[in-house]
């Protein structure tokens, strides 16, 4: 039986599922409900000098009939007095002493940092998370992502915090930066116990076609918000691995955040090195009960693979993320259509013929709508298998014998790469390209 408990930089939690610092963790009531529903930890909505919020705070990015494939918000940190929050932290810890309560903090002066750290420690918080990520509102006031984007400032504040704190400190990073390693390294050099990422991405979720203002519209105007939800997961995964592969950052525990909704998402984050995960949008969309699916799926995955704890597989995907130049150019796959599964939508055909390599043909006869792969034209790009609506109908079949291995790096080192515009060694040379005028043969009268 899998043991989901974790010890994240000294913060103990019955499972790796934490609620991220956000609206779901605004109050003790909400966090108690979440723990009761199965969450192992919660990062309290960022504490600091209370703010005043606007009305209309969220925007959703819908795809087809899927609501909130992306989500953005312009809500700020807590708008409740610190004393109320501290009292509730204390109460939650009485009910759930073994769950992780982490206080997210955002203040300006060193004096304020020292005071608020003392306060949350006294209230019984298990750890502290430094909010250096918020990309809207707070950054205009020199906090949040304004700190996350200035590694030297970030490092200084981390040093203040580490000098004052007696409980573990997590530094939360902003993705609104060109190289995530810079703030990551600054935090590690400043002495942080752990990192978390990503905070939200600076975004405009859409424009209202009636008011011509960005969503969410506040009295005819809008502001950039912070983007999160399922759509940001790929960005989060990449930043997670960038930190995990950095020689000076590797080894620092990382709490993964960004679009996590299912057990699969959780496993992917752990495979890239995260040892706790934080969730917001999925809870805001479906309620705290969504954790049931994550919990069951993660346990099943671990039991089936024989993993006792999440540390048994944490980071296992990291060595497989390499630079492009290290990929094997001799690896060859081609698409294969399972004719028994094909339903004849011909999306693969038109995707390939219009936008890829003209490697799929159709009969043109309505009674036989199953397309055929033209193997010699197929470059193995995957597009057809991605557009196919039937699971496992188009698969990519290996065609090389696995014996040859040649990388761009090796070619470069041995002076075998194309170097002039019409180089004989161009990869696409000799590959099938239709006659230009053939395009017009498809015209309908």
């Amino acid at each position: 039986m899998a043991d989901l408990s974790i010890n994240f930089a000294g913060i103990k939690s019955p499972n790796p599922f934490w609620l991220a610092s956000a609206p779901p963790t605004n109050s003790g009531y909400q966090i108690m409900k979440a723990f009761d529903a199965g969450w192992g930890g919660a990062v309290w909505k960022t504490l600091g000098v209370p703010v005043i919020n606007v009305s209309s705070r969220y925007g959703g990015m819908n795809y087809r009939d899927t609501r909130i494939s992306g989500f953005n918000n312009i809500e700020l940190i807590t708008d409740r007095p610190l004393a109320d929050n501290l009292r509730e932290i204390e109460e939650v810890k009485k009910y759930f002493p073994n769950h992780a309560v982490i206080a997210s903090l955002m203040v300006e002066s060193r004096k304020e940092w020292e005071q608020i750290i003392k306060d949350v420690e006294n209230a019984g918080a298990d750890g502290i998370e430094l909010n250096f990520g918020c990309p809207h509102g707070m950054c205009e006031r020199g906090m949040g992502s304004a700190v996350g984007q200035e590694p030297t400032v970030l490092k200084t504040i981390v040093e203040w915090v580490m000098a004052a704190a007696n409980i573990p400190v997590i530094t939360k990073l902003s993705p609104n930066i060109t190289h995530i390693e810079s703030p990551g390294l600054a935090a590690v050099e400043g002495g942080t116990n752990a990192l978390s990422l990503i905070n939200t991405i600076k975004s405009i979720i859409g424009i209202d076609l009636d008011t011509y203002a960005p969503y969410p519209v506040v009295d005819g105007k809008g502001s950039n918000g912070g983007y999160c939800g399922p759509a940001v997961k790929p960005i989060a995964l990449n930043m997670l691995r960038q930190l995990g592969q950095h020689p000076q950052i590797a080894g620092t525990p990382i709490s993964g955040i960004g679009g996590i909704e299912t057990w699969r998402d959780v496993v992917e984050f752990i495979l890239l090195g995260a040892t706790s995960v934080q969730v917001c949008t999925a809870a805001m969309h479906y309620g705290f009960g969504i954790v049931r699916e994550m919990d069951n799926g993660l346990r099943r995955f671990m039991d089936e693979r024989g993993y006792k704890t999440i540390y048994d597989f944490a980071g296992l995907a990291l060595p497989n993320v390499v630079e492009w130049k290290e990929l094997n150019l001799k690896h060859k796959v081609v698409a294969s259509i399972n004719k028994d599964k094909c339903i004849g939508c011909q999306l693969c055909y038109i995707a390939c013929d219009d936008t890829a390599h003209q490697a799929i043909s159709i009969s043109g006869d309505q009674t036989n709508r199953i397309p055929s792969i033209i193997e010699e034209n197929c470059v193995g790009c995957n597009l057809c298998s991605l557009v196919c609506p039937v699971e496992n109908c188009i698969t990519m079949e290996k065609r090389d014998d696995g014996k040859q291995h040649l990388t761009w790096e090796e070619l470069t080192n041995t002076d075998r790469i194309p170097v002039t515009f019409n180089d004989e060694r161009a990869g696409g040379r000799g590959h099938y390209v239709p006659e230009v005028a053939d395009a017009l043969k498809h015209r309908k009268n």
Binding site: R64, I343, G344
Partner: protein
């Protein structure tokens, strides 16, 4: 036994004849339209007799461009709303949907189509305009699907169009001949009103064209004539007792029912003769009117029925009892229908034969004949040069729909012998193009 109680009020009637394809709600249309795969060279388009760009109109619904969606539909089919409701979509667009190939649920194309066109019609969205007058005029005989489609298309091309209609209302079989649970009278007539408001063609009601004088007059006043006269009344069976008062034709029965609604008086037991879709409709409707015993009798086997399987299922689920391989020999009764005498049939050497000594009688109070309709032969004889085939259908050039008399064009049931509204709408539109080509050659 019938599953339905006799309708006393119009509300009862509406309940018994509840729409099979009810108008979709906004969220339903949104979710359903999201399922469409946007197939390449989509099979649904090929299956539609009017070749509507179905993936496009579905995508337009999904993106909130419902007006654009209605435009896409009407661009190919002037009876867009009626077809969304009365088309046998199971065997046309929806039957061709690729989701059928994985035993999935096909996209509800008919209801989506109706969603878009209904919105345009009910909000009176301006979608069409009359073409610049070209000084030519065309007479259309019959305000059914083919005549209306022809009139609409000609109007956009700048023709002055006048329709001569024998009945007091337009839409032909849509409002007069389809089962009430497929489309309401109001909805069928409103589409015609909507089209007419924007395209301006005139319709003369209660103006049957039957005499040579009328034809001569029309010929002298118009540059071309379109015959969209459909087919005639129910044909005679030529059996004894057929002239009894309670023996009616199915087409006439449906027509009366659609306008008399709950006030139509029906007896306790009815026999419907026939195996086509009209027979199914008549049987199903009798049951929905609360007739206690409805027998559907067909002289051939179940497999030989011309009706779609789902129309048969619908009749059975309404409480209709079916009898196959029985041919009517006589309608019994003295001044009033008492029953029908049948003889069993069988196939011998590929031919339908009567089984000697197998006569039997079923008692009933009313007989509905759904055994085919007569053709409009007498009118056709008055048009010189018009050619008819052996089934008395007008012979036309299948591209231009021009008849043997160059001034006359024809389409719809008078040409195809009786098909769906959608086929007629297509032919009317094509004929308009043929007329345009003819008059501008």
């Amino acid at each position: 036994m019938s599953e339905y109680k006799r309708p006393i009020t119009e509300q009862d009637y509406d309940k018994n004849f509840k729409q099979k394809k009810p108008l979709m709600r906004q969220s339903e249309a949104f979710i359903e339209s999201s399922r469409c795969l946007f197939c390449f060279d989509a099979p649904c388009m090929h299956a539609c007799p009017t070749h509507i760009d179905i993936p496009l109109f579905i995508k337009q619904i999904h993106t909130g461009n419902v007006t654009g969606s209605a435009e896409t539909i009407y661009d190919m089919n002037w009876m867009g709303n009626a077809c969304g409701k009365v088309c046998p979509t199971q065997v046309l667009c929806e039957g061709a949907c690729v989701f059928n190939n994985e035993n999935g649920k096909p996209i509800e194309i008919g209801r989506l189509q109706n969603f878009a066109t209904n919105k345009a019609i009910s909000s009176r969205t301006k979608l069409f305009s009359k073409g610049t007058p070209n000084g030519k005029s065309v007479a259309v005989i019959g305000a059914g699907p083919s005549g209306l489609a022809c009139a609409c298309e000609l109007s956009t091309l700048g023709y002055d169009v006048v329709i001569f209609e024998a009945k007091e209302r337009p839409s032909g079989l849509t409002a007069h001949g389809t089962a009430p649970y497929k489309i309401t009278n109001e909805e069928a007539l409103d589409e015609v009103a909507y089209l007419q408001e924007q395209l301006g063609f005139k319709i003369h009601y209660l103006t049957p064209v039957t005499s040579e004088e009328q034809l001569k007059d029309i010929e002298s006043k118009y540059d071309a004539v379109f015959l969209g006269v459909g087919i005639g009344p129910t044909a005679s069976l030529n059996i004894k007792g057929e002239d009894l008062p309670e023996v009616v034709g199915a087409v006439e029965f449906v027509n009366e029912l659609r306008f008399a609604k709950h006030t139509m008086k029906l007896p306790g037991s009815v026999i419907v003769l026939g195996g086509g879709n009209t027979a199914m409709d008549a049987a199903s409707e009798s049951a929905r009117m609360g007739v206690e015993t409805v027998h559907l009798v067909y002289r051939r086997s179940k497999e030989d029925m011309g009706a779609y399987y789902f129309e048969y299922d619908l009749a059975i689920s309404a409480g209709v009892q079916s009898i196959f391989n029985a041919s009517p020999k006589e309608i019994t009764g003295n001044g009033k229908v008492k029953g029908v005498k049948f003889v069993r049939t069988a196939i011998e050497n590929g031919k339908l034969v009567e089984v000697a000594g197998s006569e039997f009688e079923i008692s009933c109070d009313m007989v509905i004949k759904a055994t085919g309709q007569a053709k409009m032969g007498s009118l056709f004889q008055k048009i010189p040069g018009l050619q008819l085939d052996s089934s008395k259908r007008i012979v036309v050039n299948m591209e231009t729909y021009q008849t043997g008399n160059p001034k006359y064009f024809a389409g719809g049931d008078a040409v195809n012998g009786g098909t769906e509204v959608v086929n007629c709408a297509y032919e009317g539109k094509q004929a308009a193009k043929g007329i345009h080509k003819f008059l501008h050659a």
